[in-house]
């Protein structure tokens, strides 16, 4: 597996992805119509709780479902100047949480600056970690750095067995992930009363919706403890979005129509009311502003009059901006809902 862009795949273009997911068809109830029927149209931000910085597409893994099309061959990374601009704008707000994502965000040379500066500003910091990065030789003191700064780790682990995990994330990823969790547990992560929070993220390994969060969390807790002796704090379920490499999988496997029908048929107004874009601002590696990380990956910047770049950051306007939506948004409103923090309904 390699990135779409390195394979010169048509789906590397966000315009091509949008053409596919927005094409009219019998099964394609417009997302805006669903919002309208739920009294949520136009969808508005309510506040900004999460300042989510995507520091770039560079990653040590090439997962089959990746909505970022990240990988070792990607070169787009946030510069120091943009990172400093992000911190300057953050300092002038009361946004409580900085959520750092990628790619593997830790590979960005400015990652530690962002963590340190955010903490200095008194903000809670979350690191969206792929776990295996903690086992890479160049990152040997990373776990200590994260623990030392009380960073909440939100780590991907799609299942408690190697077969499913490796099918989605690559050979030996499960084994390395368990080693990484062991390392984090030794530092106190995932253990009660240490203040060091380790959350795991479940993504379905295929074209189906996630299970109920509480049910699969109990399975993970039991199986990971019994089989590997490792622990964690919370498990979040996240639905795979029909974009980028997961869209490639859906089309290649002949599951695209069925999956879209499933997402649309499972539209849940309660989940729609709780979508994360209403309380999050997403910042791209080049400083562009988005309503969420998914919109970022298909090139849909914030719109409807709100500023589109961090240099023009306007807190008051962004807090009450209208959200840019599309057919892919059904991915966050299906069933129990999906967000960076798991189920929403």
């Amino acid at each position: 597996m390699s990135s779409l862009i390195s394979r010169h795949h048509p789906l590397a273009s966000s315009a091509e992805q949008l053409r596919i997911i927005n094409q009219p068809g019998g099964h394609q109830r417009p997302f805006e119509e669903a919002l309208e029927a739920s009294g949520l149209h136009p969808l508005q931000a309510t506040h900004i709780e999460f300042f989510q910085i995507n520091v770039g597409k560079l990653c040590n893994q090439t997962c089959r479902h990746c909505h970022v099309d990240a990988g070792p061959d990607r070169t787009e990374v946030m510069t120091r100047a943009t990172a400093e601009l992000c911190m300057e704008k953050l300092a002038a707000t009361d946004i409580p949480t900085v959520d750092i994502t990628g790619g593997a965000p830790e590979l960005n040379p400015n990652f530690r600056y962002l963590v340190t500066e955010s903490k200095r500003l008194g903000r809670h910091v979350m690191d969206r970690c792929n776990l295996t990065i903690l086992t890479v030789s160049s990152q040997e003191n990373l776990a200590d750095f994260l623990a030392g700064h009380q960073v909440e780790i939100v780590a991907s682990l799609p299942y408690f067995t190697a077969e499913q995990t490796d099918a989605q994330r690559g050979e030996k990823v499960f084994e390395k992930s368990i080693r990484a969790i062991e390392m984090l547990n030794r530092l106190g992560y995932g253990r009660p009363d240490t203040g060091l929070v380790l959350d795991l993220v479940y993504n379905p390994v295929g074209a189906f919706l996630p299970p109920e969060q509480h049910a699969i969390e109990a399975d993970f807790r039991r199986e990971l403890k019994n089989r590997w002796g490792v622990v964690f704090n919370n498990l979040y379920t996240i639905t795979n979005m029909p974009i980028s490499r997961f869209l490639e999988f859906l089309i290649q496997s002949g599951n695209y129509d069925r999956y879209m029908n499933k997402l649309i048929g499972a539209y849940n107004p309660q989940a729609a009311a709780g979508v994360m874009c209403r309380s999050l601002l997403s910042i791209g590696w080049d400083g562009s502003l988005y309503d969420c990380d998914f919109n970022q990956m298909i090139g849909l910047t914030v719109n409807h009059g709100a500023p589109t770049h961090i240099r023009d950051f306007d807190y008051a306007a962004l807090k009450q901006r209208r959200i840019v939506t599309g057919q892919h948004c059904f991915g966050c409103t299906a069933g129990a809902g999906s967000s960076c923090g798991g189920a929403t309904a």
Binding site: Y159, E163, P210, P211, E212, A215
Partner: protein, 110 residues
């Protein structure tokens, strides 16, 4: 129609309410109640449904409950064991009728 079974028909299941809406409504309510969390978890019920789907050899149910089991967090090992349970009962049900054969044979034989 080129085949007796068409996977598109599964999504048309609700058309069965067209000429008997009250019965369809009752069926739907009962069906939903059956699969709700109860003394058994939703996943246990889904695995039972998958096993029964194989026992009654319903391709629609196999399709639906394979997906449902995955969406309940079950893995292929658990799903395969559920099918073995159904198969064992089917096999055992045939075999236990062998006693009828033995009874009849004994009666007819010298």
């Amino acid at each position: 129609m080129s085949a007796y079974y068409d996977n598109q028909d599964l999504s048309r299941f609700a058309e069965m309410g067209a000429d008997a809406p009250e019965l369809w409504k009752k069926f739907q309510e009962w069906y939903s109640a059956v699969f709700a969390e109860g003394a058994l978890t939703k996943r246990e019920k889904s695995l039972i449904a998958l096993g029964v789907a194989h026992a009654v050899q319903c391709p629609y149910c196999i399709d639906a409950y394979t997906e449902d089991c995955l969406e309940k967090g079950a893995n292929k090992a658990q799903m395969t064991e559920a099918i073995h349970v159904a198969s064992a009962i089917r096999g055992g049900a045939s075999l236990v009728h062998g006693l009828q054969m033995r009874n009849v044979a004994k009666k007819l034989s010298m």
